[in-house]
Symmetry: C2
Subunit: 230 residues, 2 copies
Amino acid sequence: MESKCENCIVRQFNSLRALSKEELKKVSDSKISKKIKKGDSLFVEGQKLDGVYCVRDGVSKLSKLSSNGKEQIVKLTNKGEVMGQRSVVAEDFTNLSATAINDMEVCFIPKEIISNTLNMNPNFSLEVLRHMAHDLKEADDVIVNMSQKTVKQRLAEAFVYLKKNYGEDEDGFLVLTLSRDDYANIVGAATESLIRMISEFKKKGLIKTLGKKIGVLEVQALQELADGFK
Amino acid sequence: MESKCENCIVRQFNSLRALSKEELKKVSDSKISKKIKKGDSLFVEGQKLDGVYCVRDGVSKLSKLSSNGKEQIVKLTNKGEVMGQRSVVAEDFTNLSATAINDMEVCFIPKEIISNTLNMNPNFSLEVLRHMAHDLKEADDVIVNMSQKTVKQRLAEAFVYLKKNYGEDEDGFLVLTLSRDDYANIVGAATESLIRMISEFKKKGLIKTLGKKIGVLEVQALQELADGFK
DNA sequence: AATAAAACATGATAATTATCAGTTTTTACA
DNA sequence: TGTAAAAACTGATAATTATCATGTTTTATT
């Protein structure tokens, strides 16, 4: 059942591609495959991580609780991403919780392997560094969006993002189905406000809905809305 | 006039401390000291950076313009920080502008030196990685604050932060003097709203003002306000 | 020292968003 | 398959924040 990292396509999309054959073998021998069910969490804010998670399949949300008890989703992870790197690198508690949005398959890689490789292989360090640089840039963008865009604009942006990054099924519905609550926590708004906005978008013909599922009808218009050219 | 990196105290606080003697010498020989006057910018969003800036003295703001033309300050830099690392590491355009808040002394270090050292010295990569991990964590916190706290809470937090990180003078005023506009751009609010809030804090005895200068009187109360225990 | 420009400040009002209360629909599972 | 729980939704209202208009103070410059 346990397949080898050497044959794993997912590796190509993350920092593990910088590993040598021997290093990869070590990772492969020590990794533990796990299945995470939708709704279960991989790790929780404030926890000390013993390693990182390489995502083979499924999507998760990285979120943080604010002091008032509301959840804020900081990032959605894609297939191929490595989670928990920040925490392992900084030898720090996780600042985020990771929860599966749909069923996931992940490989747990013990932190010793990661830190050893970081110390020995400059290429690997550089790869990790590049990925973190990318995440940091995205985080900066989120900050600006949060502070300067309206809920409406942020929601429009979210729809465009979800369509672009996770695609749609044959009926034109977003492949990644999120709860209204999750949408609210991505966009940073009260759930009721968000639901109202979805109704509004629907009324305007920008999106269509079928139960939880949402289909993006007018990407262009949504993009313009997000950019403030309403 | 040009002093040597080997004797620079500032180095201890950033990733350059991981450099060997020879590497440090190379940096020292190729670096260019610059004085940046208050209000001038070190670099601008979208620019390609030819190197990084090591801050010997002074404070700068890292900011980003949103599509509606408003500025959002993402981070204030401290003495000792290295700026532009993200961009150089990712071989990317800067996503942020850096503007001096007071007069600054910085050393420009060409990117070739940085990338060479990154490739050769795993310790240096690791140090940079740790710093970036720290920045990423802070960015996540800012996202949560932006989306879940009120302007009032964020302003209270800003005052506590500024007192803690930059200190106060003998009369109890914050050493770092920001314009009301800058405060608004940190907190993510309209300048008028922010000014009103400052008046309110003053009326409640939480802070005192003298022209542009602001003194924090009740750290505890401000902290509680920021945390939502109003 | 005079003056223009920039920064600071306040009031009135409008827009955005949250909160509370309640209903309907969907989902999970005994 | 029936039923309880969870999620989705709607309305009324309140709180927060932005915008516009305008006046005052401070700062920089000649």
